[in-house]
Symmetry: C2
Subunit: 393 residues, 2 copies
């Protein structure tokens, strides 16, 4: 009976992959007292100056339906933040509030991906992007990032060679989860040139742009905003989650040419029909008053990156280079071919939980992902445990 | 350039219909000082005993990622509420929290509807259901409700005659928005028998079940829960919006056989990846302590239904019968063929905003929808204005 129910569902739905981290996280939670470095979030709750805006809004009765595209105040706040960050005037009409960065990806994929389409995705990758393409009936086509002495790199020739008449879009995540690959401005220009030449869409996921470790401590990573012109086929997806410790708020935004506004609004209408006003009030405060909190987050991550990198280097058994961006260390371990088994063994012997690389698409197996957006104290304990335990794998 | 961007999107996305209420609502907002009866929500903000649970949760730092299926406490609260309401033991494993009733519909449609599939939908209908089917590449097939002396009725022979080899599911909304049609238990049994005979899924939208005006003041309308057996292909969609004045919270739930839990969880993962914990805390309180508030809402709607019905009857120009459920009056006006124009004229001459019937699928044109979940004072003013103005149309 049960099998019959499952079998009668649409294959796009029943075939949607489960997260490759589930097994590890269940195992680690059951083990108890494990340092949790497998999830992509920090250890700081949302600061009070942000959440109190939601509290005030609730008390003011802002609990009814609202604008599908987001309240005007938040769209303006995003535009102001983005105009400043990218050094170019960006209209509020470009920004559309939605229910998480994930929902932004779902919306963007719905716009550009459907049955018969191929979507190019550099890999290793955050698995939810190809899964979202698959749910639209499209085929994710993985393009392997190279891993050498300079860390993870994109091979633009390989990217172009993967283009077929069916290719409709490229999903470009920079700085990248999980690899930390961070595109240069020149690479983004080259990717955009490919898109223009072949009439492809770019879904640009630059959510980690503030977490960048390249020389000179820039305020952000290179962005398609640095190279785009009006009329380019780019849809950005973004989130409040990482910068402002708001992972649990499930709010993000889509950025697209204003001419696509009605389409984005309709797709919001038919998914969550807008975001709670009281949540949006908090998001606006995060943008308007959150820079010093964000600077603190970035500094914490920078220090943690060095601490864990030194420990992993000290094992003498790991293949990696210090990432240029995001807040993950994605490293291979000599001799490890089953990353899920290795991650579970590290739970047992080190009481540290890392995400298995097998969860991150082709090229991920044999690696582990460590989220280092953690307090210095906790990261020092975890680093020391890993330094001792990894040679025992 | 702009046209080029739009033209290069997927047709499912660019073809998603805009809401048919947008023009009227813009017109009415611009007019100012209009009684807003075109939206499907009440005039009461979320009560403090509910929203204060969110405030406490925020202060406690519940702002990180959480269970994709919903926090265990809320799933248990839904199960307790539903077990009591339907008089049968329902396990928490059947319930999946998601970002609004709309998202529940999106998830259900993703499970059962795809390219090549036909989805039967009695019409007039809430337009977001067929739109969600269309976004999956499926074809909504409208089955006209009959409108006679007994109000809106379903013709089961017509429903069965609409089934083709491509039919995959039926979307059954009872009590219905906009018509108020409320299925009897016998009708639900007959619809379920059809589904069983033809191997169809039922997407059951019973969100208005507590707003029922049939004889004996029952606590709820008839439900597929009254007739189903294990193994039946039924997915319920539900929401906190209407019962507990939480339209702005964007939280609902899917109910399905536990064997489909992994699929539902994956579809939540790839849409919003879960709902905020602090929102879920408030939802749990609504279920656990919200019955007297809900009773007040229902009593208010019952009184308002009588007030507006008498006024509309008094015009002598309207075709309708008092609805058996939900909180809308959906009435035809003799001589009116352009409901959008009529609604705008009522804004001008009566300062009352109603939704044009054309927004509600085949059979809707020529009608207006009035939401009567309003204070007695406001509904009396609106009723009096409409009594005077409708004969002038």
């Amino acid at each position: 009976m049960t099998a019959d129910l499952l079998a009668s569902l649409r294959p796009e739905a029943s075939g949607a992959p489960a997260s490759g981290i589930v097994e590890l996280s269940k195992y680690a939670r059951a083990a108890g007292d494990v340092i949790q470095l497998w999830v992509g979030e920090g250890d700081t709750p949302t600061p009070s100056f942000i959440y109190e805006a939601a509290t005030r809004s609730l008390a003011a009765g802002e609990t009814t339906y609202t604008w599908q595209r987001g309240i005007p105040e938040l769209r303006q706040a995003i535009a102001t933040y983005a105009s400043d960050l990218y050094g170019r005037e960006l209209s509020p009409e470009r920004f559309f509030v939605c229910g998480s960065g994930m929902q932004a990806i779902q919306i963007a994929m719905t716009m550009v991906a459907g049955p018969g389409d191929e979507i190019l995705i550099p890999s290793p990758t955050w698995p939810n992007a190809p899964a979202a393409a698959g749910l639209r009936g499209a085929t994710p086509v993985f393009v392997a990032l190279d891993h050498g002495n300079r860390g993870w790199q994109i091979d633009l020739d390989k990217l172009e060679a993967a283009i077929t008449p069916k290719t409709k879009a490229m999903f470009i995540n920079t700085p990248s989860n999980p690899t930390g690959w961070t595109a240069t401005k020149e690479e983004l220009a080259a990717i955009l040139a490919l898109a223009r030449r072949h009439g492809l869409w770019i879904v640009a996921d630059e959510i980690y742009t503030r977490f960048v470790w390249t020389e000179g401590s820039p305020r952000r990573a290179a962005s398609f905003h640095d190279v785009r012109e009006d009329g380019d086929r780019i849809i950005w997806v973004n989130t409040f989650s990482k910068n402002w410790a708001m992972t649990g708020w499930r709010t993000g935004w889509v950025e697209a040419d204003p001419s696509l506004g009605d389409v984005v609004e309709n797709l919001i209408q038919y998914s969550t029909s807008g975001s709670p006003v009281f949540v949006q009030r908090a998001c606006a405060v995060a943008l308007e008053r959150g820079e010093s909190f964000l600077a603190h987050q970035v500094a914490k991550a920078r220090k943690a990156r060095d601490i864990v990198s030194e420990a992993i280097e000290a094992t003498g058994r790991c293949r990696f280079s210090r990432p240029d961006g995001a807040f993950y260390l994605f490293f291979g371990i000599d001799g490890v071919t089953d990353s899920n088994a290795a991650a579970m063994k590290l739970v047992d012997i080190a009481k540290v939980g890392l995400a298995p690389g097998s969860a991150f698409g082709p090229g991920g197996e044999g690696h582990l992902r460590l989220c280092y957006l953690r307090s210095q104290e906790q990261i020092e304990i975890a680093a020391e445990r890993l330094r001792t335990a990894i040679p025992l794998l």
